[in-house]
Amino acid sequence: MNLVRRRALVPPSLRTASAVALSAIVAVSVLCTGVAHAAGPTVTGTGSSFAALEIEQWKSDVANEYDIAINYQAGGSTQGRLSYLNGTVDFGASDIEYQSDEQNLINASSRKDFVYVPITAGPVALMFNLTGPGGRISNLDLTRSDACRIFTEPEIKWNDASIQATNPGVALPDRKIRPVVRNDGSGTSFVFSEYCINVAGDVWNAFKTYVANNDPDQNSIPLREGKPVSTWPQGIGSATGATAATGVAQTVQLSPDTITYNDAATAITTFIDGAPSPVASVENAAGAYIKPVPAAATIALGYAEARANGTFALRYDGADPGAYFPSTYSYVIAQTSGFDPAKGKVLGTFLNYAVTAGQRNVEELSYSRLSTVLVNLALDKVQQIPGAPARPTDLAGAPPPPDVLAGTIAAKGAAGAAGAAGGIAGAAGAAGGAAGGAAGAVLTPEQAKAAAAAAEVLAAQAQAASEAEAADQSAADEILAVQTNGPGGREVIFTLLQGALLVGLGVFLSKGVRTSWQKK
């Protein structure tokens, strides 16, 4: 037996393979440990698809400016509220506060200490895809009742007498309206149903009766009680469902005769036939037909009433002729105790940016700017997050609360809910309106001049602010500093790895080809 020299029977190719595998693992682990991408941990959030585009924009801004990573996946406000509670994400985003039937979930959760940070506001647009006998229709006026009938009346047609009466110059087709609604839990659905309950109660009651008669099973309790619904009843009439604001927008984009409700940002970034999707002008309490533009939403939200927890009860009956209803706020739900301070630092930095400097460009995406009142409110809330950075002093030129006409209810008081003086900044408020191109606002030349002057002042302030920010940021960087190789190093290593992989693959393949060739 001893005469036979024995060696482990590992075939050479297996040895090569294990060597390659080993070196790959080593390379990957070197990359993992040596190259960190962002300073600090990635903070993950989910929820509101209404605010998603803006959050995506801020996420990219802070990644560029502060080198912090925010990961946001839009999935609907309900998902935002619930995922926050079950701990799968660091923060949630929702257009509405927790509902009464969710209270037991809050009680059961370990994350019941949280604040609502208002981050954005904007109009709920009715985007549609419609071609009439005279070609594509891009202007459509809807009365409040018609806007709701479209989504609740099963057999309504585009050339419905009432719709046609509102749009005398438009040749509407004799086809069924195919509303597209959200099939996931959505703050936008909630706001829109709340709007209908408030402005077209008879339509909503007819809807309730219809639902109860035609589909008793679907009759969810909130709907039965006349409360707004996050999950729009499914399978009623000719409505189809789709997931998230992007989902309904995509459905409208692809299907003719459709209309949906979603955030104006998604609506205007969805292209139909090469042009941004048309959106309907909706009648307000004053009887004016208003496009869903930021300034109009600002005015509409001026009627909202603050609640104790920092959210707002929306009102849909403001008397201002420039207001666009339905409009809504969106909030981030952030944990205040028990939160990892490192993550709190990142989240705080992000939110501070979002409500101050981040607000400068929101109108490009059809969101409205938050007023000083709301920005201050938000910054206060951010301070409650563990590890949050210092409160920025500069508000990046946030406009004062809008000066709105008194509505059926004491609307002005609502606007100044936090107790700030509502009346002082008429000119600046109008400036915001002018910048947004508010359809309904009528400005005198003096007001416009004043607005321009105010804007200049604001711009100067903004410059100062950004300098201050830069200082802030360097400080933040110091605290958050983790060795980063920078993109250069990472790319080099990656390229090398990629090259090695390709070479390895090539060698392997050529070996295979050669052996098979030799065989022949």
Binding site: S83, Q234, T240, G241
Partner: protein, 326 residues
């Protein structure tokens, strides 16, 4: 040692002796290792099934087993849910896909095995296998963007010419045809074609050439040979392959979720927008699911799993039987 059983009295009759099986330590370790690996798979996999069953109980209790399978609602917040519509929707989609896929797959298998020129046969076989490995999301997105428009054409053709068949009717003349069960079914069909093809091709290839030649030598045409020899030979295997494809079609998630306009209730108008399947229900509803709804989703998953389980076991049994016979 010889064992004498009491029944065997006759001395002449020999009794088999016991063979002492000594197992070396190495073998024992080896066997234990393999057995524990098997046990781990068993545990993981059996555990999954068991866990799903246990987790589904609260939902089924709340909704009632009967009502869970006989209603089409999804209001988990009030404990009211049922998957009847989705079960029907799942079956509709899978059936549509089978109707489209089976002729195509068997035709393709025959083409590869019997008709194609020899030099492209290997290429075809590889392509089919590659297609079988193609991710479903690729099929889904391609179906969504490239295939919908032509399929709407097919749908309107079917409706135009065959509306005598209830299957091809529309609820109203200008109903939207995008995102329908028919389109989803067709996309899923293209996904299961490679699976059915590659299994039935394997089975057909096992048919002894001598018998095929005998059929030809008797004056049979190629189709005669296929009909009389090849298909009877491969019948069980092909059935198994079709069932495998059916199982896959039942469980397909992403392509369905991506394309279909999701509804909880069954949509009997196959060509028309709207429909649903259990898998897409889970994909759409899980993010906002809590407690009872999770349990309800698991119950729905369990229902889907049982359905695919039955189909798959049937398929395996049939395929295995043919393999043994061959």
């Amino acid at each position: 040692m010889a064992l004498t059983s009491p029944d065997l009295q006759a001395l002449e009759e020999q009794v088999p002796r016991d063979i002492a099986r000594t197992v070396t330590r190495g073998d024992r370790i080896f066997r234990t290792l393999c057995a524990s690996a098997a046990a781990v798979s068993l545990f993981i996999i059996g555990g999954t099934a068991l866990f799903l069953a246990i987790k589904a109980v609260p939902a089924l209790q709340k909704a009632g087993l009967l009502s869970f399978f006989t209603t089409s609602v999804w209001n988990p917040t009030v404990g009211d849910f049922g998957v009847l519509g989705l079960l029907i929707g799942t079956i509709i989609i899978a059936t549509v896909s089978l109707i489209v896929a089976v002729p195509l797959a068997i035709g393709l298998a025959l083409f590869i095995n019997e008709y194609s020129p020899a030099r492209i046969r290997r290429v075809l076989t590889s392509s089919v296998d590659l297609l079988a490995a193609m991710p479903s999301i690729i099929f889904g997105m391609w179906g969504f963007f490239a295939l919908q428009a032509p399929l709407v054409g097919v749908a309107s053709w079917l409706n135009l010419h065959l509306s005598a068949i209830p299957f091809f009717r529309l609820s109203e003349p200008d109903a939207p045809l995008l995102r329908s069960s028919f389109i989803v079914g067709t996309v899923v069909a293209l996904m299961i074609v490679p699976i059915i093809t590659s299994v039935s091709r394997d089975v057909m290839a096992q048919c002894p050439r001598s018998q095929c030649e005998a059929a030809l030598a008797l004056g049979g045409s190629r189709w005669g040979m296929i009909k009389e020899v090849l298909l009877p030979f491969g019948k069980a295997g092909i059935t198994g392959a079709v069932l495998l494809g059916f199982g896959r079609a039942l469980g397909e998630t992403i392509a369905v979720a991506l394309i279909i306009a999701f509804t909880i209730e069954a949509n009997p108008y196959v060509l028309e927008q709207g429909g649903g399947s259990i898998a897409s229900l889970i994909a759409i509803k899980f993010p906002e699911a809590q407690d009872l709804e999770i349990s309800a989703l698991i119950a729905a998953g369990l229902a889907l799993f049982s359905m695919t389980l039955l189909v798959n076991l049937g398929a395996r049994a049939i395929v295995r039987r043919t393999q043994i016979a061959a």
